[in-house]
């Protein structure tokens, strides 16, 4: 789909056998081979730049299909034109302008499409002469960085719009914000490619037909919509962090993309407490990732993790972000979760962990976002802070919760607590219950090994 990166010279466009006349240029590569230089320049347009152009086109035309097709054509045009002219000073702006003009041509040609795009923010541009000033890219001189205005925030909100199903939101976000191809999205979410194609086609049609705007919502809707956007990024990370199936390789694909998207979102809305909090949470979680599994891919519980393997740069970054989020107005569940992650990250060892503070943070979290998993976290923290008797009592108070009864980590937490209380029979029973519940194979192996150890002892 995308232009081939340099390396396969045999499929390069052929301009003719006559060598191109040398032109005065500071770039020896361009002098030697303008085709190769154009290909290098095209390949240098990274995924972020593509996403920026795509987002701008999508917002302007309200049509993801049209935006994608025209961006593709602009890339093809660049490979054809740049060797003959020269590589523009602002290639991203050139691509954007070219794609936009092609899209306008299509709209002019196709009356039906023009009707479908009835919101017509493009109407003004169809008026003669208006294009002269309508496009910011046209005004950009050489050397100006980031020439295309960033409309990715609008794309974030469109892809995470409440009129789409949650699975469609994740698929669209991976496809259009993370820039994955459809087969890659299918692979990442463990569904057949044909299913994913249908899902993306359906979701794009919904966006177009319903008139989902590619822009930041009105202030009164922002909080609710932003929560939806963050949820998608969070779920993407969670999906990679602890899958019910799948290989470690898949997990890293998703966590890396989710973290990247959280960074993009934070660049776009840096002053928002919860956006900062979400990024802090993901950065701090990512920092611990190297220690979370052993070389055979089995999970390593927090007490046994080798903290030397924690990424100190990410921890420093994450703690700073978490502090920033906690101090900002509007701090909420993500900022609190980031603060919990920061307390863990700052402890030099498991026993040094400030469990009292974690328990307090869980209480604050429960006040804002009461839910079984939060109550479980609070019970565990209280158990660490005040001893396993308190922990077990707190856990047993939650035993009636139907969601937790089916939640593997609840039974694992009980098992660990019962072990601490020197009750191997009770612990073994809890481990067996945990093993009956869904989880990934690496986790199965770990729990089975622990259970076997208990039964032998």
């Amino acid at each position: 789909m995308h232009p081939t990166p340099p390396g396969g010279a045999e499929d390069a466009p052929v301009l003719g056998s006559t060598p191109v006349a040398p032109v005065a240029s500071a770039d020896p590569v361009a002098d030697a081979d303008p085709v190769a230089a154009a290909r290098t320049a095209v390949a240098a347009i990274d995924r972020d730049a593509r996403a920026r152009i795509l987002a701008t086109l999508a917002r302007r035309f309200g049509d993801l299909d049209l935006a994608e097709d025209m961006l593709q054509e602009a890339f093809a045009q660049a490979l054809h034109s740049w060797p003959q002219t020269r590589i523009p000073d602002a290639p991203e702006a050139w691509l954007h302008t070219t794609a936009r003009r092609k899209a306008l041509d299509v709209v002019r040609r196709e009356n039906v499409l023009a009707q479908k795009l009835a919101r017509l923010r493009i109407e003004e541009e169809r008026a003669p002469g208006a294009t002269d000033f309508a496009d910011p890219a046209d005004q950009i001189g050489p050397g100006r960085p980031d020439p295309v205005p960033d409309d990715r925030l609008g794309l974030f909100f469109a892809c995470a719009h409440p009129v789409l199903t949650p699975e469609d939101r994740i698929a669209l976000t991976l496809r259009f914000l993370a820039g994955l191809q459809t087969p890659e999205v299918a692979h990442a979410l463990l569904v057949p490619v044909s299913t994913m194609q249908q899902r993306i086609v359906r979701a794009k049609k919904r966006i177009r037909s319903l008139g989902v705007p590619f822009e930041t919502p009105r202030p009164e809707d922002l909080a609710a919509r932003l929560a939806g956007v963050q949820r998608v990024v969070y779920l993407l990370y969670a999906e990679g962090f602890a899958r019910s199936t799948g290989s470690a390789h898949l997990r890293e694909d998703l966590t890396t993309e989710a973290l990247r998207l959280a960074r993009v979102l934070h660049r776009l809305m840096p002053a928002t407490a919860e956006v900062t909090g979400l990024l802090a949470l993901l950065v701090l979680t990512e920092a611990r990732r190297p220690a979370r599994t052993d070389p055979r891919g089995r999970p390593v519980p927090l007490p046994e993790q080798d903290r030397v393997q924690w990424d100190s740069h990410l921890i420093a970054e994450g703690v700073a972000l978490a502090e920033q989020a906690a101090a900002a107005a509007g701090a909420g569940p993500y900022a609190i979760q980031a603060a919990i992650a920061a307390v863990h990250a700052e402890a030099s060892s498991y026993s040094e962990t400030d469990w009292d503070q974690i328990a307090v943070l869980y209480r604050l979290l429960e006040e804002r976002e009461p839910g079984p998993v939060v109550r479980l976290g609070r019970a565990v923290a209280l158990g660490r802070a005040r001893g396993p008797e308190v922990g077990l009592r707190r856990l047993d108070e939650l035993a009636d919760d139907a969601a937790l009864a089916r939640f593997r980590p609840f039974h694992t937490a009980r098992a660990v607590t019962l072990e601490q209380l020197d009750n191997p029979t009770g612990a073994a029973e809890a481990y067996r219950r945990a093993l009956e519940l869904p989880g990934n194979e690496a986790e199965d192996a770990y729990l089975a090994a622990t259970l076997a150890g208990l039964e032998d002892g």
Binding site: V112, A118, V163, S209, G211, V212, P213, P217
Partner: protein
Amino acid sequence: MKYALLLMGHSNDPACGEDGGASPEEFFTFDQEITAAGVVVSSFALEDPELGVAVRSDADGERVVSSGPFAEVQEFVGGGYIIDVANIDEAIAWAQKSPASAPGGHVEIRPLAPY
């Protein structure tokens, strides 16, 4: 973009103004607000579904006219608006304001096909 807001009721729900359902006054107030906003293309209110008449084809393809009530009809359109707004978010905002989306009912938003 043009959207139809279909104000849906349910045959088991309290009728307009009864037992805690939205009162006619609330509907009139909403109607004044949405009309004053200049987004209404047209609007209508329907009598109750038991006054409905159905025209359909029988097994031989003959048109047959029948009258209500239609016992199988649980959800029904009580009224509707065609509005012209910028995007789905604005349509949703109007649907959220409508007393028809208060407990006991819902508003279905359907984009008008551009034919």
